[in-house]
C-alpha cells in the first residue's frame, strides 16, 4: 500500500506531462514555424535598409549591438586568424568563435539547438552541400552585401541567401618527415606504403571538406558531378586496404604527427607551415593531377539573428577588400579577385600561397541540383559502404 503511494503519482504525473507535451510541442513548433517565416519575410524586406547602406553605417549599427557570434572558424583555415584580427581591430567587436573545429553539420545543429538563446550563431560558413538543408529548414536569411555586383554569379545565390567569399582546391598534404615519398595523385594513395596514413577532414555526411574529397576522388575514378559513387567506392577500398584512418584532420593531429597524409583544402596548410617546422615536420602540399575539384564555402546571415547588423558587418568584411586580402594570404581565392586585381591591390608576392593559374582555370563548380544529388548519394551510401565496413 505504501509502495504504490509513491509509484502512482509519479506515473500519473509523467503521463499527464507526456500528454500535455505532445500537444504543446506540436503547438509550439507550428507557432514558432509560422513566427520564423514571418520574421524571415519581414527581415528580408528590411534587412539591408534597417542597418545601413554603407559599410560605415552598418558598422555603427553593429557597434550598438555590441558583438557578433561566430562559429566554426579555425585560425588556420584560409587565414581566418588574420581576417578575424582585422575585423576585431577595425570594428572593435569581440567576435568570439564558438567551437572552431565544428563541421558544417555541427553549425546547422548549433542554430537549431541554440534557437532563442543569446549564444546562437549570427553568421555561418558552410560547405555547399549544406545550403539546401539550411534553406529548407529556414536557418538562414538573405542578405546582399554592398559589393554584391562585384561578386561573380557562380559564387553567390541569386536571391541573396548566401555568398561564397572564398574558394580553393582539394589537395593532398604530406608530412614529409614521416612519409618518404609523398603521393601526388589519387591513384598513389592506394599504395600499400601509405597504410594507416590517409586522413579525411571529417565525415563527408557532416563536413564540407570531406565531401569535397569524395567528389575529387570520384572525378579521378571515372565519376562526375552527376555520379560520385566511384568516389565512395574509392574510399571504401581505401578503408578495406587499411590505408584510410578514422582520425580527423585537426591542427593538433597534424602537429602531433598522427596525421601523416591529410586530404584537405590547399588553403588550410600555409598557416601551420611554421608550427609544423617547430614541431620538427615539413609539409608538402600537392594538388592531385588526376582529380581536381575546387569549391567554395557559403556564408550567410542566420535567420532571426541575435545581432543582425553585426552579422551583416561580418559578411561585408569578408567580401570586402580586407577580408579578400586576408583570404589571399591564406592561400584561398577570394570571390572579388577580379575586382581587386583591376584595382591593382594584388601584388605578385600575395599570390605565393595560391594554386597555379592553370589549376585555378580548371575549377568548375557543380550546380545546386548536382550538389543535392551528390549529397543524397553520400547520405545513402557512405554509411553502409565506408563507415560501417
Amino acid at each position: 500500500m505504501r509502495k504504490s503511494l509513491y509509484v502512482v503519482p509519479v506515473v500519473l504525473a509523467s503521463a499527464l506531462l507526456a500528454a500535455c507535451s505532445s500537444s504543446t510541442s506540436s503547438d509550439a513548433t507550428s507557432a514558432s514555424a509560422s513566427a520564423s517565416t514571418d520574421t524571415a519575410s519581414a527581415s528580408a524586406s528590411t534587412s539591408g535598409a534597417s542597418c545601413g547602406t554603407t559599410v560605415d553605417e552598418i558598422a555603427a549599427a553593429a557597434k550598438a549591438e555590441g558583438n557578433v557570434n561566430l562559429i566554426a572558424l579555425p585560425d588556420s583555415w584560409a587565414n581566418y586568424a588574420g581576417i578575424l584580427k582585422s575585423f576585431r581591430d577595425t570594428y572593435g567587436l569581440e567576435a568570439p568563435v564558438a567551437t572552431p573545429d565544428a563541421s558544417s553539420a555541427d553549425e546547422l545543429t548549433a542554430i537549431k539547438t541554440l534557437m532563442g538563446q543569446p549564444s546562437k550563431p549570427d553568421a555561418i560558413d558552410i560547405g555547399p552541400s549544406f545550403i539546401g538543408q539550411a534553406m529548407s529548414e529556414n536557418l538562414i536569411q538573405p542578405y546582399m552585401t554592398t559589393n554584391w555586383a562585384e561578386i561573380p554569379d557562380n559564387l553567390k545565390d541569386a536571391a541573396g541567401n548566401w555568398v561564397g567569399a572564398y574558394y580553393g582546391i582539394m589537395s593532398i598534404a604530406t608530412n614529409t618527415k614521416l612519409v618518404k615519398t609523398a603521393p601526388t595523385t589519387w591513384a598513389d594513395l592506394k599504395k600499400p606504403a601509405y597504410k594507416g596514413m590517409v586522413t579525411l577532414n571529417g565525415d563527408p555526411r557532416e563536413a564540407g571538406a570531406a565531401f569535397a574529397a569524395v567528389v575529387a576522388a570520384a572525378l579521378a575514378n571515372g565519376g562526375s558531378y552527376d555520379d560520385i559513387k566511384p568516389g565512395i567506392q574509392y574510399f571504401a577500398d581505401l578503408k578495406k586496404s587499411g590505408n584510410l584512418q578514422t582520425m580527423d584532420v585537426t591542427e593538433a593531429a597534424l602537429l602531433s604527427g598522427d596525421v601523416p597524409i591529410a586530404l584537405d583544402w590547399s588553403y588550410n596548410f600555409p598557416a601551420i607551415q611554421q608550427k609544423m617546422k617547430d614541431a620538427g615536420f615539413t609539409v608538402a602540399v600537392t594538388i592531385p593531377t588526376d582529380g581536381l575539384y575546387g569549391s567554395y564555402y557559403a556564408q550567410s546571415v542566420v535567420s532571426d539573428p541575435v545581432h543582425p547588423c553585426a552579422a551583416q558587418l561580418w559578411l561585408e568584411h569578408i567580401t570586402g577588400n580586407e577580408g579578400a586580402l586576408g583570404y589571399l594570404a591564406g592561400g584561398a581565392i577570394p570571390a572579388r579577385y577580379a575586382a581587386l586585381e583591376k584595382a591593382g591591390l594584388i601584388t605578385a608576392d600575395m599570390k605565393k600561397n595560391l594554386p597555379t593559374a592553370d589549376q585555378i582555370s580548371q575549377i568548375t563548380f557543380p550546380t545546386a541540383d548536382q550538389i543535392g544529388m551528390m549529397k543524397q548519394q553520400i547520405t545513402d551510401n557512405w554509411g553502409p559502404m565506408v563507415a560501417d565496413a
Binding site: S25, P74, P118, A252, D278
Partner: protein
C-alpha cells in the same frame, strides 16, 4: 615449496604488468604535455629535455577555459546541494522509520543509471527545447540532470553511512532522552554523516568534471567540452590541461576512498 615460489613470482610478474599498463599511458601523456620537444623527437634519448609547465599555465589562463571551469564547479556545487536536499531527508527517514522502503528507494535511485547521458539528451532535446527553450539557454540547466546521475551512488553512500553509524539506535536513544526532532537530526545524525556527505560530494564532482556527452550535445561550455575545444587549438596545452584534470579528479576520489575506509563504509559500484 618450489611451486609456491614459482606461483609467487608469477603473481608478482602479473601485478607488475598491470601496474605498467596503468602507469605508461599517464607517463606518455605527461611527456607529450610537459616536454617542450617536437613529438617526433620524443624518444628515450630526450627523456630529460625540455620539461616545463608552460603548456599548463597557458591553458589555465585561457579565459574560455577559466569560465568553463567556474561553470563546472558551480554546477557541481548546485548538483550536490540538490541531491542532498532531496536524498538526505529520504535516507534518514528510511533508515530510522521505514526500513522496508530501503529496497524500493535503492531501486528508484538506480533508475537514472538506466538512462545514460547519451540517451537522456535525446529526450531533453525533444521535450525541453520545444516546451521551454529558456530553460536550456542557461548552462546551469545541467544541474538537475547531473544530480540525477549522481543519485545512484549518492543514495547508497548516504545509506551506507547511516547504517554504519547505527542511525536508528542513535535516533531512538536521542528521542528517548527527550530531544526534539531537529536537534536529533542536526546534532546527532548529521555530524556522523560527515564522511558520507563528503564522499558523495566528491563523487558528484568527479562526475561533473568528467561528463562530456550530455554537455556537448546541448552545446554547453563546461570544462570537459571546453577541454576538447582548447586542445584543438593548442595540442600541448590541451594535453596538459587534461592531465591536470585527471590528477585533480584522482585526488578527490582518493579522499573519498580514505574517508570511506576510515568509517568502514564500502564504496558503491553502481548497480551492484
Amino acid at each position: 615449496m618450489k611451486s609456491s615460489r614459482a606461483m609467487s613470482i608469477l603473481k608478482w610478474a602479473f601485478l607488475v604488468l598491470i601496474a605498467m599498463y596503468f602507469a605508461v599511458p599517464m607517463l606518455a601523456m605527461a611527456r607529450f604535455a610537459f616536454q617542450n620537444v617536437p613529438t617526433v623527437l620524443l624518444t628515450s634519448d630526450t627523456l630529460l629535455t625540455g620539461w616545463s609547465l608552460g603548456g599548463l599555465w597557458s591553458a589555465l589562463s585561457n579565459p574560455k577555459v577559466v569560465s568553463a571551469t567556474w561553470i563546472s564547479l558551480w554546477i557541481a556545487v548546485f548538483a550536490i546541494a540538490m541531491n542532498f536536499l532531496l536524498l538526505v531527508p529520504l535516507a534518514i527517514v528510511t533508515e530510522v522509520r521505514s526500513p522496508r522502503m530501503r529496497p524500493v528507494l535503492t531501486a528508484l535511485t538506480l533508475v537514472p543509471w538506466v538512462v545514460p547521458p547519451v540517451a537522456l539528451v535525446v529526450g531533453v532535446s525533444a521535450t525541453f527545447r520545444a516546451a521551454a527553450p529558456w530553460f536550456l539557454a542557461n548552462t546551469l540547466c545541467l544541474v538537475p540532470f547531473y544530480a540525477l546521475w549522481a543519485m545512484p551512488f549518492t543514495y547508497r553512500v548516504l545509506d551506507n553511512g547511516l547504517q554504519a553509524m547505527g542511525a536508528r539506535t542513535l535516533f531512538e536513544a536521542a528521542r528517548g532522552l527527550g530531544a526534539p526532532l531537529w536537534t536529533v537530526i542536526l546534532r546527532v545524525i548529521m555530524p556522523n554523516m560527515r564522511a558520507a556527505l563528503v564522499a558523495a560530494a566528491m563523487l558528484t564532482t568527479a562526475l561533473v568534471l568528467g561528463e562530456y556527452a550530455f554537455a556537448s550535445l546541448l552545446l554547453k561550455s563546461t570544462l570537459p567540452t571546453q577541454m576538447l575545444v582548447y586542445a584543438g587549438g593548442d595540442p600541448r596545452g590541451g594535453l596538459a590541461l587534461a592531465l591536470f584534470v585527471l590528477v585533480v579528479t584522482a585526488v578527490c576520489l582518493g579522499i573519498v576512498v580514505r574517508l570511506m575506509r576510515k568509517r568502514g563504509v564500502s564504496l558503491p559500484t553502481t548497480g551492484f
